[in-house]
Amino acid sequence: MSSWVRTPLTVIFFLAVSVGFSWPLVTDPTGLHISRQFDIYSLVWLVQAVGADDVGWNFSGTAWPVGEPMNRIDSFVLAAMARVGGSEVDPWVYPAMLILLGPVLSGWAAERFAARHLGAAWPWSLVAGLAFAFSGMATTAVLEGHVYVLFDPWLPLLAGAWLRVTGGEGRLRDGLLAGLWWTLALLTSAYIGLGATLIVVVFGLAGLWSRSLSWRGAGAAAAVAVPAGLAYSWVFQSAGAGSRALSRTRAGESIQVMDAGAMHLDALAGWHGFTDFGMHSMTGTVGFVALSLALFAPWMRWHDRRLRRCLLLGLVAVVLALGPRLQLHHDDLRLFWVLHPLGWFQDLSSFFQFPGRLMWVAALALGGAAAVAATHLARVHGAVWAAPLLLMAVADVCLTSGMPFRGQQVHRGSPEVYELVSADRAVLDLMPDFLPLQSDLALYTNNLGCAHQASHRRALASRCLGTTVGTGPREVVGSWLSDAVLSEQADGAAIVEELEALGFGAVVMHPDLYSRGDRVSMAEGLAAALGPPAVVSKDGGEHLVMYAVPGRSPVDRAEAQKRYEAMEAAYQ
């Protein structure tokens, strides 16, 4: 079939699957979202922050007054898109477009990988695209909200180029492209970068073993990837802690943390009622069609070296994705597994919290192998016998990932109360301390408030990057204010003076998050110190009470920073 016909058909096919996968998002792309957890709110915040006119490596709009270091954003590719779009584009457009169009491009790239580099024939090569772009990991990305990983043609492109380099057929151009695709994978997400590194290592070792590695191509790849990797590491290390802070305030070593982010055996088959219950929505399915075909593939085409390498890659990725301890369901088995030794490197391994995300690589490799097997079966038995496999692969998307039924329909609306604050002053969101059992609420409420900034554009005390929401200005100033207003000797004038000097124009209390007694005490204390509430709002799905802070003089950020640092030193 001519590529002029095949290409549009492929794109239309994946587009149709994508619309069904994310239904009903297409009916109102910027008015609702379908995520269940809370990363989507951080993503929207990031887009509006990067799109802001005054953005730099330190964003002054959050973590006011010290600002938010932007060194550790996960997706520089998304940041680049947001920067190009600027402040004119509605930030909610990005997640919607990434969910709807990202899998189309990723699926197309995986389909081409199977066809061009593994020898699969169209339409059986579509199985590879379905297995990769609509896998359990894609579902996880949609439901958890880090949807920029859906736009990932880089892994299939890297696998293709690097397969050529390590198979002895690569030219200098293939090496350069492999380096470029690896870099873009790393810049799409750190975990996608890790997956890309796994592809490089497995295919590279296989090439060394069989002495088919093109050193010229490998050198060209390294010439591109090594400087990019070093620059990424420098940016990462130039700000932030040397170990990853736990989002749950519990004692635990990195193995326990990694355990929670590892793939459990039941998650490779499907999902259940507890999968989306809190924090994460981990699903590692690659589809039973891809899995079954990949299982039989070695007996169909054992002589095919590329297929063998692909299967090896898939196997290694699955084994690593199972993490430090083998678990069937929850933490029932606790059997020692291959990543367990990483626990020796506590600080370093604390950044590798989600080995389960290596299932992206498994989905690509097993999907590619499955496309080859499907092609083989179609040639042996005819298209009539093989056609059901394609239909089953489409059904797989729904039956094993649970999409679109697992998605929610959530309004994007933002409370108007923030827009009533002067644009040159910051807002302090006042929330209670959440205990570990409800730490997901701490992240959800914090990130939701960050996303509202896309509408009101006022500076916030909240930290919006990362999961350390229990630290930073909102926590420090909020704790100080809570203590101050609940004190028996509360000095209203001093409280107002301090808040004003810190640059705050309003305190927005979230009363429904407090216990009943504390809600009343806090409201009374705040009213005594700051005067009666200026606004009580119930729009946007939240009950918010805003207390105004008088502001006589223009905000001096340097002075505010100095006051905050003194408060932080005294308070922490």
């Binding site: 989306d276 039956l399 959800y444 799905g541 805003m546 008088p550």
Partner: protein, 204 residues
């Protein structure tokens, strides 16, 4: 402070009647006056009120063994700043409730809320209500929110834990694993078909 149930009007599936709030519309666009940046006026401004929007129904379900010893259950709900008392029943009076199956249910309809505060009490005859659970729950789905709890024994007493809830028709916990069972069944079918094609190749 535990509320006295007998004094509360029966509330199920509807909003508790409340005084209408004084509402002042917010001026639109960029012309609305900012609250801050100016000195506080000598006379305090009256509190401005922004009402909630959209209607949303929240379903509640408590799975309780008969050994727990509670006759009935009720929820204290804080939704958009308003406290509600919701009785849960197991007499089949709710459309989705199967009578006397140990699953108590109730509902509340109100303005769209992204989260609510819930406190679950169990009431045994001649005793003060017992607090079984308290927490903040996300309710951000526009169309459908089901909050479920399950009573478990801890030492000699019972307490409640949040549990994923199946759809109203599927009220036993077996159905929590139903998607996984379907996936396994589907996987077996697919594997059998691929195996059949593979085996067929070997026939002369």
């Amino acid at each position: 402070m535990v509320p006295e149930i007998a004094e509360q009007p029966p509330i199920r599936g509807t909003d508790r009647p409340s005084e209408p709030e004084p509402t002042r519309p917010i001026p639109g666009g960029g012309e609305q006056p900012s609250i801050r940046g100016t000195e506080r006026p000598s006379e305090p401004e009256p509190t401005r009120s922004i009402p909630g929007g959209g209607e949303q129904r929240i379903l509640f379900r408590v799975t309780a063994p008969s050994t727990a010893g509670f006759d009935n259950y009720f929820l204290e709900l804080t939704r958009l700043g308003e406290d509600q008392l919701i009785r849960l029943s197991d007499d089949g009076s709710n459309p989705e409730d199967l009578a006397f199956d140990g699953v108590f249910s109730g509902a509340h309809t109100g303005h769209y809320a992204r989260y609510v505060t819930a406190r679950l009490f169990g009431h045994a005859p001649d005793q003060e209500p017992t607090l079984l659970y308290s927490g903040v729950e996300r309710t951000d789905d526009v169309h459908e929110v089901i909050l479920g709890w399950r009573l478990i024994r801890r030492d000699q007493d019972f307490t409640a834990v949040r549990a994923p809830a199946a759809y109203p028709g599927n009220i036993t916990e077996v159905h929590l694993g139903l998607p996984l069972l379907v996936a396994f069944g589907w996987g077996g079918f697919v594997l059998a078909y691929v195996g059949f094609l593979f085996q067929r190749r070997r026939e002369p």
